[in-house]
């Protein structure tokens, strides 16, 4: 927290080094979240790119009120949601069945990843977006339900529900995978 505050302070004074250090510190974390939300490597990279560029653009006026990590995760989540909506509109236009089930990741990467994690990614893609977001932001993003509720614009109990249903959905998807 203290380190982040100092880095933000440096950014406000135009420090290139501080901006790059924030990128170094959170790039993998944000990419993991973005890929978890979208399932697509290139789209996730684009989102992380846009978040950091927007941050750099506003760095001189930026005032940190909470945690920088939480702020950046929220930005990623908002952009990911916009992309999902755009995808859904596109899918409707093309009369597609589901925007989430997309065998899109590249096969080489799949081979390199642990089999379980690959199955988890596939299961995540089949989980409704709000549930997936609640699960990922809470477990991987370390965000509290209160913060997720604020981000999603719903009550804390709704987030609890989405989180629980999300975990149940993942569990059933992964178990059915195992039975096969």
């Amino acid at each position: 927290m203290l380190e982040d505050k100092l880095l933000v302070l440096k950014c406000r004074h135009g420090s290139k080094d501080a901006v790059c250090r924030i990128y170094e510190k959170y790039k993998d974390y944000l990419l993991t979240l973005a890929k978890g939300f979208l399932g697509e490597q290139s789209e996730a990279e684009d989102i992380v790119h846009d978040v950091f560029v927007a941050f750099a653009r506003s760095a001189r006026q930026f005032r940190l009120t909470g945690s920088l990590k939480g702020y950046l995760a929220t930005c990623v989540s908002n952009l990911a949601r916009d992309r999902i909506r755009a995808r859904m509109r596109q899918a409707e236009a093309l009369d597609s069945t589901s925007p989430f089930v997309a065998g899109s990741s590249n096969p080489e990467q799949h081979a390199a990843e642990a089999e379980e994690l690959t199955r988890l990614r596939q299961a995540l893609r089949q989980t409704p977006y709000e549930q997936r977001e609640a699960v990922l932001l809470h477990i991987r993003g370390g965000m509290r339900f209160r913060e997720i509720a604020k981000l999603q614009g719903v009550s804390i109990s709704t987030v609890h529900g989405r989180y629980r249903y999300g975990l149940d959905k993942l569990r059933s998807l992964l178990n059915s995978e195992v039975k096969k």
Binding site: E3, L6, K10, V19, T32, G142, L174
Partner: protein, 277 residues
């Protein structure tokens, strides 16, 4: 049935790494965006200030605030003695110091404690260490040379020297005046206790502070020498309650110590395996 805990564990293990191409693209675009933002004038702040001054009520309020601001310290001075120490004195004393030595105990990524010695200088912008040397009691050495932009990591147990391009090991944030200023502003708890140093008998102030933030909590005990106002020892915990063993215990902190010649140069020992990264 796969328990939920397993799934949570799996999700926690999700990890994606950015590619070199992506890093280059983002860094380039970020720096360009930062440079462009410099050209935008800060008119907003000016406008607000003018609005305030134009308002008669605001003028009256401002005058009242100034009167209170002058009167309050005078009243306090009449009834209390001057404090023996204030963080501002340390902030002032620490400015202009450009090297640090410390020794103590810390923990590695596996939670094992090890003794260390540490010499460092800050980077130009003061955000983190630049030149650095850290020696562990077990013989491991890390040397960062900022000018050469190179990091050496020597593990005598494995007889390996890892030579890495760039600064891949650093201390952040750099403990300077700004660090203490931010720490004072951010810490939710702040207690000062005056007593003598157990080893030297010198008058000291012990500052116990903690910084609460979801997922990123720290607590600290800093010991400042009352004569020099500089920190001489510190303990840092990576929780906000001073629980368990400290993450770092620096038994000796010396600001602006005379650094040994060539301390940030590393001579690769003969016969070691060199891994270039």
């Amino acid at each position: 049935m796969r328990p939920a805990e397993n799934i949570k564990h799996l999700i926690q293990n999700l990890s994606d790494k950015t590619s070199v191409q992506m890093d280059q693209r983002v860094r380039q675009d970020m720096l360009q965006a930062l440079a462009e933002s410099e050209k935008t004038p800060a008119l907003m702040r000016l406008k607000i200030r003018r609005t305030v001054i134009k308002s008669p009520i605001a003028k009256l309020a401002a005058a009242a605030m100034i009167a209170i601001a002058i009167a309050l310290p005078l009243a306090i001075l009449n009834y209390t003695t001057a404090p023996a120490w204030a963080i501002e004195q340390t902030i002032e004393a620490i400015e202009g110091f450009h090297a640090i030595y410390c020794s103590g105990v810390t923990v590695d990524e596996n939670g094992n404690e090890f003794e260390f010695e540490y010499w460092a200088r800050p980077r130009k912008d003061g955000t983190a260490s630049g030149d650095l040397r850290m020696e562990a009691k077990g013989g491991q050495v890390i040397v960062v040379n900022e000018r050469q932009s190179i990091t050496y990591k020597y593990d005598p147990g494995k007889n390996i020297v890892s030579v890495e391009s760039g600064i891949t090991f650093y201390s952040s944030p750099w403990i300077n005046g700004e660090y203490f200023r931010t720490m004072k502003e951010d810490c939710t708890e702040w207690h000062e206790e005056y007593r003598k140093d157990e080893l030297t008998g010198r008058d000291c102030v012990f500052v116990k502070a903690s910084d609460r933030d979801p997922g990123n909590n720290w607590s600290y005990i800093f010991q400042f020498d009352l004569e020099t106002k500089l920190p001489i020892r510190m303990k840092v915990w990576n929780n906000s309650d001073f629980k368990g063993k400290p993450y770092v215990t620096a038994n000796k902190v010396v600001y602006n110590s005379v650094l040994p010649e060539g301390i940030f140069d590393f001579m690769i020992p003969e016969g070691v395996q060199i891994i270039k990264q």
